[in-house]
Structure formats: C-alpha cells, structure tokens
C-alpha cells in the first residue's frame, strides 16, 4: 500500500466527518455556538438605547405663572426631559439630584417675569448631574436650545426665523441603537466563536492524547487542519446567519444591501479567526489556557474596532491600530451592507483587505503548527 505523497481529500474528509460527529455529540459546543449569541443579541437589542430620552427632571418653580408654564411646557414636550417632581426649596432641589431621583433640576426664580418685562436677561438655573457624560451633554445641549428657541420667539414675536437647519438622517432615520449595534454584534460574536471553537478543537486532542496518535498516521498537517476547521467554518457561518435572521425579523432592522455580498466578506473574516485559534492551539496545552488567550484577543477587538466607540473620535495612533484588526473592516462592511445598502463598488477594498488577512493568518498558523509537530 503506497501512501499518497500529495494532499489527500479522502483523508481531509475523514477528519472533517469525525469533527462533525464531535460537534454533534457535544452539547456544550452547540450551546456556545447558538444559544449565547442569540441571548446576547436579545439583550443588546432590547436593552440598550444610547439615545438619551426621558431624563428625570425636578422643577423648582418659584413663579408659577403663564411665563414659567410656557417655559416648562417647552421642556416637557421635548422628548428629552420628563418632569417627575415639583420641589419647593433650593435644598430639596439639590437633594433630589444627589439622591439620584432626578438628573436635571430646573429653577425658575421669582423675578423671572419682572425681568422679561423690563427687557433684561432672565436666568433660569439648570442643574445637571454630570456623572453620566452622555446624559449630561445631551441635557445641556437641549436646555440651551430650548432657552434659545424661547428667547427667539419672544424677540421675533410672530415673524419666522431667519435661518433654519433642515436635518435629514440618512440610513437610520430613527437613530435606533439596535441598527447600529446589531451588525457589530454579529461580527464580534462570529469572531469569538471562530477563535474559541478552533483553538478548543485542537487543544482538546492534545489534552487527551489523540493528537499523538494522529501524527503516527500518514495524515498530513494541512489535511488535519483543513479537516478540523471546515466544520467550524460551517458552524460559524450558520451562527452568523441565525443572528442576521433574528436581527431582520425580531428587531426589524432592514437589510438594505445584498446578503450574499455580506456573506462573501464574512468568509475570509472567519478564516482569519479560525487561523488565530489554530495559532493559539500551538502555544498552549490546556483548554483553559486556550480560552484565556482567545479572550485576550477579543478585548482590543471590541474596543478598537468601532463596535461601541466610533473610531473617528480616536487619537490618530489608535485609528491606525484599529485598521490592523479584521474586526474593524468587517464591522464597517456589515454596517455598510445592512444600513447603507453598500455593494462591491464601495466595499472592494474591504474584500481585498479581509482576504489578505484571512489567507495570511491561516498560512502562518499552519506553518507554526507544522513546526510544532517536531
């Protein structure tokens, strides 16, 4: 019997078949692959809303006439503020904010109307709890805008405003947070799965000694690696599609571009992280250590890729650093396809970069694996 000196698809298929059996028989893997991403999706999709609305507000109205009513109504009808309580002293006003019952306090002083009549500037004190910078910033901006708007309408009486800005939000008109986060979540989840499953798969064989037995057989390292990783490629793609499906149906995020374009870009991304998992498996010998190393790569990916924090507002160094992560590229591409309806014309660069990264990482990791065989 002569061994095949060239690459053998039969051997690769045997390894892939075996790996598939392992996956089916291990409920933990399937749980990790499907339940956790879907759960994260639901949590993120329903719970998180970065638009600031309904800020609890307390009011100290020492005037209580038509003028103060008019001002307070402006505050109330803007979605941003929600008046929860009326207080009757300065001490109570401060107390309410310190106790956390309100994040904003509005104080209309008794001389408010008198000053308006004499043409002097009247000051309305707006106390803002600065602990949450997003909320505080928003509250401040809206309060200023309301005051300006009120001032202008008093000055112009019934005349129209000279300059008006017409904002029109493209692609996500309701600025729904779900639309922003979920595509990013899909990418990050797939990354985590690809890297953890592939590292786990190989280290598990190291741990229980079956890898040594495999080395004694004619199977080549390329066949072994491709055979082992192929089922996880399929699994990760399936998980990606599952999240995509839920995103579209449950969370009503429309997919404005072509799904297949997105999948075509996701493929090299998954290769890259399967390769990273492979690399990790050459460095460690227990599954715990593999898990830790995998988590270590996840953190910078989450913070630097534009998943949560916009990269444009990062210092230059970190912006360049972000370009090294495949995550950054795919998140942008995913948002592009889903939200902006982008196609190949806009995303060819992403495809190029992702394929280069994917192939490079897999090849390098394979070489590392071969060397380790000794």
């Amino acid at each position: 019997m002569e061994p095949n000196k060239t690459f053998s698809w039969q051997r690769t298929a045997s390894v892939a078949r075996k790996e598939t059996l392992h996956i089916i028989r291990d409920p933990a893997t399937l749980f990790f692959a499907f339940f956790i991403p879907v759960m994260e999706l639901f949590m993120l999709g329903f719970a998180i809303n970065t638009n600031v609305r309904n800020i609890p507000t307390v009011v100290l109205d020492q005037l209580n006439n038509q003028d103060s009513e008019r001002l307070l109504r402006r505050f109330e009808t803007s979605d941003d503020f929600r008046i929860v309580r009326q207080v009757y002293s300065e001490k109570d006003l401060n107390q309410a904010i310190v106790a956390g019952k309100a994040k904003v306090g509005i104080w209309i002083k008794p001389e408010h109307s008198r000053r308006l009549e004499t043409g002097a500037t009247t000051q309305v004190l707006v106390l803002v709890d600065g602990s949450e910078s997003t909320t505080a910033g928003e509250a401040l901006n809206v309060a200023n805008a309301l005051a300006l708007s009120e001032s202008l309408s008093r000055v112009l009486k019934d005349q129209p405003l000279p300059v008006e800005v017409r904002p029109r939000i493209l692609f996500n008109p309701d600025t729904r947070s779900a639309n922003f986060f979920i595509p990013g979540l899909m990418v990050v989840m797939s990354q985590m799965m690809a890297i953890m499953l592939s590292a786990n798969a190989i280290v598990r064989e190291k741990e229980n000694g079956t890898l040594e037995q495999l080395f004694m057989t004619p199977v080549r390292s390329a066949e072994l690696i491709l055979g082992k990783l192929a089922p996880y490629l399929v699994l990760t793609l399936a998980e990606f599609c599952t999240i995509l499906f839920f995103m579209n149906t449950v969370f009503q995020v429309p997919i404005n571009g072509n799904v297949f374009t997105l999948l075509a870009l996701t493929l090299p991304f998954i290769f890259a992280f399967l390769g990273m998992g492979l690399y990790i498996s050459t460095q460690v010998s227990t599954r715990e250590a593999a898990g830790q190393m995998a988590m270590g790569t996840m953190m910078p990916s989450i913070f630097l890729s534009g998943y949560v924090f916009p990269i444009d507002s990062m210092p230059t160094f970190f912006w360049y650093l972000a370009q090294i992560f495949p995550t950054t590229w795919l998140i942008d591409a995913a948002r592009g396809v889903i939200l902006r309806g982008a196609g190949w014309a806009e995303l060819w660069m992403h495809a190029l970069v992702l394929w280069t990264m994917g192939v490079a990482i897999i090849v390098l990791s394979m070489l590392k694996f071969r060397k380790r065989l000794g």
Binding site: E2, P3, S8, A13, R25, N208, M216, R220
Partner: protein, 340 residues
Amino acid sequence: MFSPKPAGESSSLRSGGRVKRELRMPLPSPTNGHTIDARGITIRFGTFTAVHQVDLTVSPGEVFGLLGPNGSGKTTLIRGLCGLIPFAEGSATVLGRDVTGEAERVRSQIGYMSQKFSLYEDLTAQENMDFYAGIYGLSPSRTRARKEELINLTGLGPYLHRRGGRLSGGWKQRLALVCALLHSPRLIFLDEPTAGIDPVARRDLWNLLFRLSAEGITLVVTTHYMDEAERCARVGYIYLSNMLAVGTPHELKQLPGVTPPGTHWLEIAGADSAAMLERLRDRPEVLQATVFGQSVHALTYADFSAEDLGLSGAQVHATEPSLEDVFVTLSRSQANDNGN
C-alpha cells in the same frame, strides 16, 4: 507491472490488468531481512540527550520487548523510529525504508498503539475504526473486509456501537489494536499495551499478540511487566537513554555483568521472607537480596545452607536470575559507573 496474486483472490478483482493497489503483496524486506535495523541512534532535545547511541535490530515476526524505567527514552526511541523526531546521529531502516528520508512511507506501513487510550471517547467503536480506515486510505470494500477480520479476531462484535469512553480497559485496548491493524501493517509498536488492565484481559491480549506474530507481523512492545518480558523472543533494556543489553531472556540472564565471577544466585524459600531478608543483608557475602513472594533471591559469593542462616525449615537452592534481577543489577552498576 505484474505482481504476484495474493493467494485466494480471484481474477475478477483485476481491473484492466492491474491488481488493485491495496491487494498487492507488501514490498519485500531489505536484503539483510531485518524489520528494524537501527545503528547508533542518538536523539537530543537541546542539551538533553534522550537516546544515546542505541543499536537495535528486530527480525520479521519477532516479538521484541523494550523495557526500562519511565523517562529513559523508550517512547522517544519509538517516535524516532517512526520518523517523528529527527536523529542527531545514526540512521535506521524500518521495513526496508530509510526512516529519515521516507518517514511518511514508513508511517503508512506501521501501526502504533500509544500508552494512553488515544481513540475518541465520544465516537463509537465502529466510528473510530471507520475514521482510521479513512485516514489510512482504505477503500470501502477493503475497510469492510478488514473490519470483519479484525472484529472476529478481537471479539469486538457486541461492542461496535458503544462509545469509546464506555468501553472497559481491556476492550479499549482491543479497539486500539484493531485501529492500528486496519491497514495491514507488517510492524506495530505497542507502548505499554497492558498498563492498568486486569490479569485475565492481559493474558487475552497477549494471546492476540502472539497470533499476530504467528502471521508474520513484527511487534515491538514496551512494558514494565517482567512476566511479559519473559514471553518476548528478545528483550532490550534502556536505562537513562542507553541500551544496556539486548538479547533473548535466556542470554540476558547469562550476562557476566549480572552474575559476577565467583558469585551465584540462590533462592531461599521458607516461612518468613522478611526475616530472611534481614539476615541475608547482614551477611557480607551477600551482594543483593530481594523478596520474591514467599522466597528471597540472593546474589552471593558463598553457598549457604539453611542452618548457616539460622533458619530451620528453609530450603536453599541455586537458581537463575530472573529478568528483574538482570535489570536491577544492570541499572545499579550503570548508576555506579555514572556516579564514578
């Protein structure tokens, strides 16, 4: 392209004038006829020498026992002979092929059963076999035929659909043996195949191994069990990376190093072996004494009678050293040499 037809195969198996690849007879052994021919094998890991200048020849059909303490280089030597670890010095041919140049070829023609059960616990016995058949490139028909043969040989029939992890020790080893034999290797390495297995299963496994040997398959077995060593045709002892002795059990027992000139081995059987041991050790003429169940083996310069020892009812007679005596003596003298 005409190869001799294996006996019993009908001509309908030919396809277009060529006999199917997997039914051809295995390639003939090299001119000197050895299955394994290794000279001066040295294997190093950095500054550590795991195997030092080891010579080894194994003949076809032989059951060769490889013994030695843990960590002395047995497994490393086997891995080297399989072409997994490069030799720092020396060379070896296995089944006629040079290990260094044709490692892949060598590995496709030998079988290996590792120390720990290293088949897949969550796959059934059948699935494990199918996997290895696929890895060794067996066609479906060949796989079917071999599986049937080997299942009959090992009796694994009732356990085919049981998961590897649920098999007991003896059956796990049988499954591992089947997987190592699927591709009809002429040589298999077994690394402590009977570790942790009950005596009945051990005996059964060895009966299997001897049947394989009778069919002409060469076996290299590492073991710690002396009774198994005694059953091997030839035995080699590796101690701290050196092969201290190679030969038949009988030859080893006759080694001069084991029985220094002027000494002989005595077996003293009687009631209290522990007490006997104490008395013997007190004697200056006694070089070594070990308890062997109800009796004591002693290496002495002088002859004793039971009365000399002050033990009535004891029987003293000359005996051959056991293999254990051989190895202990060899190890001790090597250790002394290393110390000096």
